[in-house]
């Protein structure tokens, strides 16, 4: 059988936007996409940490771009959109989490979580579509969570609700954006070892104990999620839209 150098999983020739690119899943996704041949547009709030990601990108002669922005600030979000080139792929990773029993989930706490996890990515995606920044056939990947769709552990309600709402918009966008052949999918990770989970509300001992509940014996690494994003961005996923891809080491089975 004849072999070809062209892989349907390659991202060569694609410009890919990654938000939240300064750490965790966003950083790993940006680096993985660059290694698969993409030109990257990176954004995050923290300029120094963003530069750190930028310096880890595989170059392959690509002129990657970094744009600092706080996506919860509408002026900064609009400035970002105005600066964007045509985009063949977007992975919207910027997000936050909180561990809070529902009886303490005040409107203020919900607003804080929804501003970052829901309104910011939804508004960014909306403006990119409306202003025709997405190229025909582009692929959008939203970072949802099994906490919004499959697993309802005590203390995750405020966070999970924001991710559930995001996942619902993903499915509606998949239907509506299909007219321009723009695909929209989400990834629903289980617990991934990023700075977000090491803030001390849950102790390191509790995290280690919790990780044992995962059939594959560990929490996820950022690369586990990044490789799923690469697939969803690539031409290998050309007929896949409206799907929430669970990557959770078997936790939700």
């Amino acid at each position: 059988m004849e072999t070809s150098n062209h892989s349907p999983f390659s991202l060569a020739g694609k410009t890919v936007l990654v938000t939240g690119a300064s750490s965790g899943i966003g950083r790993a996704t940006a680096i993985a996409c660059s290694r698969m041949g993409a030109r990257l547009v990176l954004t995050a709030r923290d300029q120094d940490r963003l530069l750190d990601t930028f310096n880890q990108l595989a170059t392959c002669g690509q002129d990657h771009v970094q744009l600092t922005a706080d996506l919860t600030n509408s002026e900064q979000l609009e400035a970002l959109v105005a600066a964007l080139p045509h985009i063949e792929g977007a992975v919207l990773c910027a997000g936050n989490s909180t561990t809070l029993p529902l009886q303490f989930g005040s409107r203020e706490k919900f607003d804080e979580m929804f501003d970052v996890n829901f309104f910011a990515p939804v508004e960014l995606m909306r403006l990119m579509y409306k202003k025709k920044i997405f190229a025909k056939g582009a692929s959008v990947v939203l970072l949802a969570s099994i906490g919004g769709t499959h697993s309802f552990m005590p203390g995750n309600g405020v966070y999970g609700a924001s991710k559930a709402a995001l996942n619902a918009v993903m499915k509606y966008a998949a239907r509506e954006y299909a007219s321009r052949r723009v695909r929209v999918n989400s990834i629903c990770p289980g617990m991934v070892d990023t700075p977000l989970i090491h803030r001390g509300t849950i102790t390191e001992e509790q995290l280690a104990e919790d990780a044992k509940k995962y059939p594959l014996g560990r929490y996820g690494q950022p690369d586990d999620i990044a490789y799923g994003a690469v697939y969803l961005l690539s031409d290998a996923a050309s007929w896949l839209t409206g799907h929430d891809l669970v990557i959770d080491g078997g936790f939700s089975i």
């Binding site: 561990t99 029993p101 303490f104 005590p154 001390g200 509790q206």
Partner: protein, 77 residues
Amino acid sequence: MNIQDFIENFASQFDETELEEFTPETHFKQLDEWSSLTALSIIAMVDDEYDVIIKGNDIINSDTIQDLYDVVERQQK
């Protein structure tokens, strides 16, 4: 803040344990009702009532309600 208010706020995160069982000397993690969700509720209650962010380790390292009160009081200053 004072210890009596703290104890009442602390006790209200429990459903079955009687208020009389809560004193400064109570070893709260030994209460039958204690759970990881109670711990999260205590952390959230301290944030709400005292504007102090405590961590899971502050709970682990406290034996009595007085121990935890001292942690919160120190951080409030």
